[in-house]
Amino acid sequence: MDIKGKAYKFGSDIDTDLIIPARYLNTTEPEELAKYCMQDIDETFTEKINQGDIIVAGKNFGCGSSREHAPIAIKAAGISCVIAKSYARIFYRNSFNIGLPILESKEASDNIEEGDHIAVDFSKGIIRNITKNEEYKADKFPDFIQNIIKYDGLVGYVKNKLNQGAKNDI
């Protein structure tokens, strides 16, 4: 299993203002942003989570603003993975781009309860609920997205393209 952690549950339509309120966007420092992650929905969130824990949410996670500070804050807070029924499209792109693992699974979202111990095998797309002894399947990402993951996100992908371009010029 790639990651193991305790599940923290949230509902549907969790917006980026809840993930990181705009009043903290006057910095780009991940550690600073992490302090305020989920503050307006759960003031104690950053105190109670441990490194490697997992966010489990309903549909349309990360709706609202384009702020990349949102997945950055989640990742820097120590969350190892987000599991949701669906994601708002900008949050979806941002997560791959910055290397925050996200999974889509209606089954996992419906069955996992707050505090359950969860393990994720990314290569197989398997989410294991250790507490309940259940297994859920995550939706497979399109090949194009997997290619970006292979480059460790968009930075590596673009870097490779720029290098190729330079080669083509010669």
Binding site: S65, S66, R93, N97, L154
Partner: protein, 420 residues
């Protein structure tokens, strides 16, 4: 199989004669946009990519509009990073305090975006330019960085919802009411990953400023973009600001849509989105006795000249309720000047409102009108999430400029038709 308007623009920008729903393509970009919050993050990633120059100095647009004029030292530092980058990379379209306006009002006004363009912006409301018949969508900072480096971005070709508009607007009904009504109908993820294509004979009833407000909030329904066909109104708007050529795309007759939704303007009432979701909409007459502490008229949704005129029409020879702090923010310098010429600023000030220089400030709870615990506001902005305009126990009601101004006068959420 026929293509939607959006699909045709995408195909045109990736050198294909046709594209299919779900296909991933690399699309050429006519404009890459960022603001003072998202650009500093993009600059970091741009440098990590090993890019030395931007792909085209004239096609990058950076607007310092969110926490400006600098609200605190940290914001000042962020703006400085963007300013220095713009100077070093010789970005032609860099807009600082004095020239800047709220980005999505500014770019169309300057003629920087026209019909047929492809635009990505590290700001979710980049979808605004669909009003001009362009394909534009919001992305994050790393995507902005990739766009600046390559001049391309990846896009999954979207399917579409068709919104068929008919009829004529009643008094005090605007584009804002239409888009709030639609979001209420389909929900905040009703158009997730999809295009929203507006069409129908009712479109001719909608001004450009109506259309900007409508396209602007496509993202509030989860949409990738919200686009209008190009007509005489679009062409007149672009002619007045022409600095580059445009290209007109039309959806094929046999284009395929996931769903067709009819909106009859005759039946549309002034509409309000109640806390704390843009989908929580009600016709105004269903809202009773909600007393308010603040009104904000402005933002990338409703800070344009027609919005100012709508507020002016209500506030002329009236006073705002002394218990309602009324903040009016023309979205750009040009709009601000036009307000002066038309006597609107005098009307606003005489009514007891304050008028601010262009800024996104209060919309996202940044500055220039933050709410305390328990306070309520009626605003013409685009989001009413928990904590959006300040304290997490404050509440935001989204409405049109006419409704916001009428509410400022009576001190509670008010149908402008009820003012004596």
């Amino acid at each position: 199989m026929g293509m939607t308007m959006t699909q045709k623009i995408i195909a045109n920008h990736c050198g294909k004669t046709s594209v299919e729903v779900g296909e991933f393509v690399e699309m050429n970009l006519d404009i890459v946009l960022g603001n003072d919050i998202t650009t500093p993050v993009a600059i970091n990633e741009f440098n990590k990519m090993g890019a030395e120059e931007v792909y085209d100095k004239e096609k990058i647009v950076i607007v310092l509009d969110h926490f400006t004029p600098n609200k605190d030292i940290k914001s000042a530092q962020q703006c400085k990073i963007s300013r220095e980058f713009a100077k070093e990379k010789e970005i032609v379209n860099f807009f600082d305090v004095g020239q800047m306006g709220i980005e999505h009002a500014l770019l169309p006004e300057k003629g920087l975006v026209v019909a047929g363009d492809t635009v990505i912006g590290a700001d979710s409301h980049t979808c605004t330019y669909g009003a001009l018949g362009a394909f534009s969508t919001g992305v994050g900072s790393t995507d902005m960085a990739g766009g600046m480096a390559l001049g391309t971005t990846w896009i999954k070709v979207p399917s579409a919802l068709k919104i068929n508009i008919t009829g004529k607007k009643k008094p005090f009904v605007s584009g804002k009411d239409l888009i709030l009504h639609l979001i209420g109908k389909i929900g905040v993820d009703g158009a997730l990953y999809k295009s929203i294509e507006f069409t129908g004979e009712g479109i001719k009833e909608l001004s450009m400023d109506d259309r900007f407000a409508i396209s602007n909030m496509a993202v509030e329904a989860g949409g990738k973009n919200g686009i209008f066909p190009v007509d005489d109104k679009t062409i007149n708007y672009m002619e007045e600001r022409k600095i580059k050529e445009w290209k007109i795309f039309q959806a094929d007759e046999d284009a395929v849509y996931d769903q067709v939704i009819d909106i009859n303007l005759n039946e549309l009432e002034p509409t309000v989105a109640c806390p704390s979701s843009p989908e929580n909409t009600k016709p105004i007459d269903e809202i009773k006795d909600i007393y308010i502490d603040q009104v904000v008229i402005g933002s990338c949704t409703n800070g344009r000249i027609e919005d100012m005129r709508a507020a002016g029409q209500i506030l002329k020879n009236r006073k705002v309720d002394p218990g309602v702090r009324t903040i009016i923010i023309p979205a750009t310098q040009e709009i601000y000047k036009q307000c002066i010429k038309e006597g609107l600023l005098e009307i606003f000030i005489d009514a007891g409102a304050v008028v601010s220089t262009p800024t996104c400030g209060p919309c996202l709870g940044g500055h220039m009108g933050i709410l305390a615990a328990g306070e309520k506001a009626v605003t013409t902005t685009n989001r009413n999430f928990i904590g959006r305009m300040g304290h997490k126990e404050s509440e935001v009601y989204l409405a049109s400029p006419a409704v916001a101004a009428a509410s400022a006068v009576t001190g509670k959420i008010e149908n402008p038709n009820n003012l004596k």
